[in-house]
């Protein structure tokens, strides 16, 4: 384990955190802008007796993850839009089989081949069950290299505790940028025994089956209600978010990941010019911090949602805030030359303020 401060890319921080989290089984396929993750692990895992395998496709990679995870080990894969789309089949099977596992999505622009620039347009795919059958996975959205490290580690723990696949949803900016991080040792989290794992059945032991086929009368429905309860427990216990200068804010900007990073600088500019603006940054996108939005909206009635898309998270924001809250939107769909800078967001914050009713 490397210690002290490291100046590394977000993608490298993911790889470092995975190893520190005890994940020594990685399966993946090259795609920009996440290739530093497999490259790092291809170099480091063999040194510690781990397994790095470059799969023939993302479809195969996610199924290798499924197979490894079924035996009870921690395992990870990473990709970007086109590859994550191919993985949806396997993610659905993992969700149906209650298998943990970590998937890192370093978002790039799309649809189709799109481009390699940062995007947040895969929010729906990530948070609303990208595959078939009706399920959720845990989705964590880092906004710094340190968070790439911390949230990757957290993703492994949450995934093991809840037996739900977990995704670290980053983008090209967060994956490619370099910052200094402290590579904390793995936190001492109490984790459940993986008694469900397939390891070979000794005589007298009961059979372990990892499967998603449910054909018995009422079996599938019961599974859905069980998972529903688990999602509710996630929502109750595992929401994470950051608030910045919200207590007296007249307008709360809300954004996640790289957009939040840019927006925070815009909020600082607004504060410097005397405007009461705050920032609400959800860190867990699933579970979405609904209660936190709700309670903010009891006081502040104006939100400005900013995304690198034409608006996806805004739906969850609108569902979360009190009914009399106005949710404005500013988006820059992804692509070359389309990344907004803080000045642009600051201008938009000001023009949003002009639309607000005058406070008497």
């Amino acid at each position: 384990m490397q210690s002290g401060k490291l100046f590394i890319k977000g993608n490298e921080a993911v790889a470092l955190a995975a190893i520190e989290a005890g994940c020594v089984h990685y399966f993946g396929y090259p795609i920009t802008p996440q290739s530093e993750i497999p490259e790092y692990l291809a170099r480091e895992l063999p040194k510690i007796g781990g397994q790095f395998l470059q799969a023939e496709s993302e479809t195969a990679a996610i199924n290798m993850l499924l197979g490894a995870s079924a035996t009870g080990v921690r395992s990870m894969t990473s990709s970007s839009g086109p590859g994550i789309s191919l993985m949806q089949e396997g993610i659905s099977y993992m969700a149906g089989s209650e298998l943990p596992g970590v998937i890192v999505d370093v978002m790039r622009s799309g649809p189709g081949l799109g481009g390699i620039d940062a995007s947040q347009a895969d929010y729906f795919q990530a948070t609303h069950g990208g595959g078939h059958g009706g399920y959720h996975i845990i989705v964590l959205a880092p906004c710094s290299v340190q968070e790439m490290y911390d949230l990757t580690m957290l993703a492994f723990d949450l995934s093991d505790i809840y037996r739900i696949p977990a995704m670290v949803l980053a983008d090209a900016v967060i994956g490619q940028m370099k910052e200094s991080i402290v590579a904390h040792p793995r936190p001492a989290t109490l984790l459940p025994e993986k008694s469900w794992a397939v390891r070979g059945k000794e005589e007298g032991q009961s059979q372990n089956i990892v499967k998603s086929l449910q054909l018995g009368d009422g079996e599938m429905e019961a599974f859905h209600w069980k998972m529903h309860a688990r999602y509710q427990s996630l929502s109750l216990n595992e929401c994470r978010w950051e608030e910045y200068l919200t207590s007296d804010a007249e307008l709360i900007v809300t954004a996640f990941g790289s957009a939040a990073r840019i927006a925070k600088s815009a909020v600082e500019m607004a504060r410097d010019s005397g405007l009461k603006i705050g920032l609400m940054r959800p860190i867990s996108l699933y579970p979405f911090p609904q209660a936190a939005y709700r309670s903010l909206s009891e006081r502040c009635k104006n939100f400005l949602d900013i995304e690198l898309s034409t608006g996806q998270m805004i739906n969850d924001v609108k569902l979360s805030v009190a009914r009399d809250t106005e949710v404005f939107f500013y988006g820059r769909p992804p692509g070359t030359g389309s990344l907004p800078d803080p000045e642009e967001l600051f201008q938009h914050i000001k023009s949003t303020l002009w639309q607000l009713p005058v406070q008497v």
Binding site: N63, T71, G72, E89, Q207, K211
Partner: protein, 247 residues
């Protein structure tokens, strides 16, 4: 009195869902006997595929992972890489392995994954109701080739055992049938060998089992068995196409 025939310990005492005359039951039995003979069942993880073979866990008294359609070799790869001390086998049909799963089987075998693959070829998609498979014979009528498979349009049936034997990573590749007592014995041997390869960590082992599917072929079990000899074996010759180790 000596007991000469019994249920293998690796099989559960349950009734199967297979149709009358279906040879999945026989194939299951041979796999279970191999696990028993080699004393492997306590360290074996089966990987079930999608199709009639999906219920592996209902019949085998071992730990099982169910995989998405065609992906069993990838799932088995992940499991074997995570637990190299375990015996991992996949059990796949022809739709699963040779259509949607062609990429996974080609790459897993070429990598020489230390796994055993039992490939049951009955020239049709069984569970979905007898549609055309990549191994459906020329002229064979199925629900999606009602005028018979047209080679000019659908290509020729894949000979998987021969195909895979070309790869350096493949240590053992054989094709067997279950239509006669003699062939069953040969099949038993091939399956036993395919697990020995894994025990000795000698590389990827593949056994293609020609099997009858009377229901989807629309014939009686006896006729189906005859068809294996008359139509299947001439196109899919039995034999060992690669055998790199001696036991």
């Amino acid at each position: 009195m000596n007991q000469v025939f019994k249920r293998p310990k690796s099989l559960k005492y349950v009734q199967s869902h297979f149709c009358p005359g279906c040879q999945h039951g026989s194939a299951h039995r041979l796999v279970a006997e191999a696990l028993d003979d080699l004393g492997l069942s306590a360290i074996t993880i089966g990987v079930a595929s999608v199709g009639c073979s999906v219920f592996l866990y209902e019949y085998f008294d071992i730990d099982v992972i169910e995989s998405p359609h065609g992906r069993a070799p990838a799932v088995a790869t992940g499991a074997k890489r995570a637990r190299p001390d375990r015996i991992i086998f996949t059990y796949q049909g022809d739709g699963d392995l040779a259509a949607i799963g062609m990429s996974e089987i080609i790459h897993a075998s070429n990598r020489g994954e230390d796994i055993t693959v039992i490939f049951v070829n009955n020239t049709t998609f069984g569970m979905t109701g007898g549609q055309m498979a990549p191994t459906t014979l020329s002229g064979q009528k199925t629900s999606t080739s009602p005028y018979g498979r047209d080679i000019s349009k659908d290509g020729s049936p894949f000979k998987m055992a021969e195909l895979l034997s070309n790869f350096d990573g493949v240590a053992f590749s054989a094709r067997v049938a279950l239509n006669t007592p003699k062939n069953v014995l040969l099949a038993k041997n091939a399956i036993l060998n395919s697990f020995r390869y894994q025990v000795e960590r000698k590389g990827f082992a593949f056994v293609e089992v020609l099997a009858a599917c009377p229901t989807n072929w629309g014939v009686t079990p006896l006729k189906a068995n005859e068809r294996v000899a008359q139509d299947l074996i001439p196109y899919f010759p039995l034999g060992i196409f690669k055998n790199t180790a001696e036991f």
